[in-house]
C-alpha cells in the first residue's frame, strides 16, 4: 500500500510574483520585501483588472434597475456571492452577507444576534489571543445587556489552554467568539474541537477568520461553525469588503443590523417589512465592485490551490523560524505547534519601532507595534513586537533578506 504523502504540486513563485505589479518596485533603493501580509495583502493583476473592467464596462447599481448595466452588475455581484459560498463550502449563497470587513461582520453578530437575546449574567466566551475587533464589540454588548465577558487563557507558547476552555464553558455561556488564527502570534486554534464542545452545551460559535482565510482552505459545514467572518483585503482582494457567513436558521431569527434601502420588502410609515436573506443585512448600496473583485481574488487563490499556498507558506515559516532562532537576543512570541506564517519577535534592548524603521530602509516592510492585540502584549509583558508575516508570493530569498536585515539592525544598535 502506498502511504507516501501526496506529491506537492509545483509552485512557481517567480511566476506568481509577476502577477503582483506592486512587488516589482524598489524602496529606499532596495527591492521591496513585503512581509506585512497579516495587516493586508497585495493585489494580483486579476483583481486590479477586474476592478477596472467592471467600472469601465459593467458598472451600475445592483438589485434595482431594469436596464442592462444594472442587470449585468447584479449578476456579477451575486456571482461573487456564489464564489464566496463555494470557497467556504456554505450550504446556501444567502448565508453569505457582504460587510465592510471582519470588524463589521463581528459587530453585526454582536448587535443583531446578541443584543436582543443576552441578559444580565449571561457569559460571552472569547480567548486571550483575540484581536481588538473580537474583543471590543463584545465589551460593548456586555455594557448594553449586562452580559459578562470570559476569557480563555493562553500559555507561554501562545497555545490556548483547552482544559481552561472546558472549565469556562458554563450553563451561562451564550456565545463563543474565537480567532481561527492569531494575528499577533500566528497560533492556529483547534476550532473544530472548540465548536464541537461548545455545541455539546448548545453554545453557538463565531469564528474570526480574518487571519486564517488567506492561509488555508475553510469549510464552514465541516467546521459546523455558526458564524464565520473574514475580510477581502487579507485574501488578496480589495479593502472595504468583507464577509459574514451565518447559518440560515440563525440569520433568519436575527433582526436587521442597519436600516435603509435594499433591506426592505415593503415600506409604509406605519410598518416596514424586511427583505429576505441576505439582503436583510445589506442596507444601502453595497461596495459593488469590491465584492465582484473579491470574487476575482477567490478565483485567483483557487487557481493556485489553498493546499499549495499553505504548503509554500509553511515551508517559508519553518525556514524563517529556524534562521531567526539562531540570532542572539531574538525572542520569538508564538511557538504553538499549529501555526500560520507569522513571525512575531523582539530583539534584546531594541524596540520594535526602531527595528521597523531600519528594516524599512533596507526595503523590508514589517509591522511593529501591538498588532491591535494589547492583551496579548500585556500577557507577555512587552509593549510591542516586530512581526514579519508571509503570503503566497514571498520567497526564501526574502526570508534571507529579513534575517540579514535583523543582523544589520543589531549592528546599527551595537
Amino acid at each position: 500500500m502506498n502511504t507516501a504523502p501526496a506529491a506537492v504540486p509545483a509552485f512557481d513563485v517567480a511566476r506568481i510574483r509577476k502577477d503582483f505589479p506592486i512587488l516589482g518596485q524598489q524602496v529606499h533603493g532596495k527591492p521591496l520585501v513585503y512581509l506585512d501580509n497579516a495587516a493586508t495583502a497585495q493585489k494580483p493583476k486579476a483583481v486590479l483588472d477586474c476592478i477596472a473592467k467592471v467600472y469601465t464596462e459593467d458598472y451600475a447599481n445592483v438589485h434595482r434597475g431594469v436596464h442592462t448595466l444594472s442587470q449585468r452588475a447584479t449578476e456579477l455581484f451575486e456571482g461573487a456571492r456564489e464564489k464566496v459560498q463555494r470557497h467556504l463550502n456554505a450550504r446556501h449563497s444567502h448565508e453569505i452577507v457582504f460587510t465592510r470587513g471582519t470588524t463589521e461582520a463581528i459587530n453585526l453578530v454582536a448587535q443583531s444576534y446578541g443584543r436582543p437575546r443576552f441578559k444580565a449574567g449571561d457569559e460571552i466566551l472569547i480567548t486571550a489571543m483575540e484581536h481588538h475587533s473580537n474583543i471590543v464589540p463584545w465589551q460593548m454588548l456586555c455594557e448594553q445587556t449586562g452580559a459578562v465577558l470570559k476569557v480563555v487563557p493562553i500559555d507561554r507558547t501562545g497555545t490556548l489552554e483547552l482544559d481552561r476552555f472546558e472549565a469556562l464553558l458554563s450553563n451561562r455561556t451564550r456565545l463563543l467568539a474565537v480567532a481561527h488564527m492569531s494575528n499577533a502570534l500566528g497560533t492556529i486554534n483547534p476550532v473544530e474541537t472548540l465548536i464541537e464542545q461548545a455545541h455539546r452545551r448548545g453554545v453557538p460559535v463565531l469564528v474570526d477568520g480574518a487571519q486564517a482565510i488567506p492561509h488555508m482552505a475553510v469549510d464552514v459545514q465541516a467546521l459546523d461553525c455558526d458564524f464565520y467572518a473574514f475580510s477581502g483585503h487579507k485574501l488578496y482582494g480589495p479593502a472595504g469588503i468583507g464577509i459574514l457567513y451565518g447559518k440560515e436558521e440563525l440569520l433568519n431569527k436575527m433582526p436587521p443590523y442597519q436600516g435603509g434601502g435594499d433591506m426592505i420588502r415593503r415600506v409604509t410609515f406605519e410598518k416596514t417589512e424586511y427583505n429576505t436573506l441576505p439582503y436583510k443585512f445589506e442596507a444601502g448600496t453595497p461596495s459593488i465592485v469590491d465584492a465582484i473583485a473579491l470574487g476575482a481574488a477567490i478565483d485567483y487563490v483557487n487557481g493556485i490551490g489553498m493546499e499549495t499556498i499553505a504548503g509554500h507558506e509553511q515551508r517559508l515559516l519553518a525556514y524563517a523560524t529556524e534562521q531567526a532562532l539562531r540570532i542572539p537576543g531574538l525572542e520569538l512570541f508564538g511557538q504553538a505547534a499549529e501555526k500560520g506564517a507569522i513571525l512575531s519577535f523582539t530583539l534584546h534592548r531594541i524596540h520594535p519601532h526602531d527595528i521597523g524603521t531600519i528594516l524599512d530602509h533596507l526595503g523590508i516592510a514589517i509591522r511593529a507595534g501591538h498588532h491591535c492585540a494589547m492583551p496579548v502584549m500585556d500577557f507577555f509583558g512587552i509593549p510591542a513586537t516586530a512581526r514579519a508575516s508571509f503570503g503566497l508570493y514571498n520567497t526564501f530569498e526574502e526570508v534571507d533578506a529579513l534575517i540579514a536585515g535583523i543582523h544589520k539592525v543589531i549592528e546599527v544598535f551595537g
Binding site: H351, P352, D354, T357, H361, G369, P383, A384, V412, F413
Partner: protein, 151 residues
C-alpha cells in the same frame, strides 16, 4: 549603506537611549503625568518639580519606548531643567513645528541640543515618538493629572 538613517539615529540618540538621563522615580515631584502613545503602546511617566515662580527645578522619567522616544525624553529632562515653564513651552512649540515639518525654513540653531532629533521630520510615523515626552511635559505644566496621549 545606511547613511540616510543616521540622520534619524544620530550618535547622541544612541547614547541617550542606552544611558537615559534622569531615568528615575521622583518621590517629591509636585506634578506626575502618564504619557501614552496608543498607536505603539509606548508609555512614560514624567515627574516634574516646579517652584512657585514657575521654574522647573527637576524633571525625571520612567517607562519604555523606542530609541527615539527614550532619547527625546532623556534630552528633554536635561534641557528644561531650570527653565521657566514659559521658556519650556516655547521650545516645545519650536520643536513641534520643526518635527512635524510645518516649517520649511528650518533653523536648527533655535533647537540647540534638540537639533539631533530634527531628523524625525523625514519619518512621519515616528514624529509622535519624539513628541511623547513633550506632550507629557505640557500636560504637567498645565497641571493636568491625567493620562495624556499622542492621539
Amino acid at each position: 549603506m545606511l547613511d540616510q538613517i543616521r540622520d534619524l539615529y544620530q550618535e547622541v540618540v544612541f547614547d541617550h537611549n542606552r544611558n537615559p538621563r534622569n531615568f528615575r522615580v521622583m518621590e517629591d515631584a509636585n506634578r506626575t503625568v502618564e504619557g501614552f502613545n496608543p498607536l505603539c503602546g509606548d508609555r512614560i511617566t514624567l515627574y516634574v518639580k516646579i517652584d512657585d515662580a514657575g521654574v522647573i527645578r527637576d524633571v525625571s522619567f520612567q517607562g519604555s519606548g523606542c530609541a527615539i522616544s527614550t532619547a527625546s525624553a532623556s534630552l528633554m529632562t536635561e534641557i528644561v531643567r531650570n527653565m521657566h515653564e514659559s521658556e519650556a513651552h516655547a521650545l516645545f512649540e519650536t520643536f513641534h513645528r520643526i518635527a512635524t515639518g510645518k516649517d520649511d525654513a528650518v533653523n536648527l540653531e533655535e533647537l540647540g541640543k534638540l537639533a539631533v532629533l530634527a531628523g524625525v521630520r523625514a519619518y512621519p510615523a515616528r514624529v509622535k515618538c519624539a513628541t511623547l515626552a513633550w506632550h507629557s511635559l505640557e500636560a504637567a505644566l498645565e497641571n493636568q493629572e491625567t493620562t495624556v496621549t499622542t492621539e
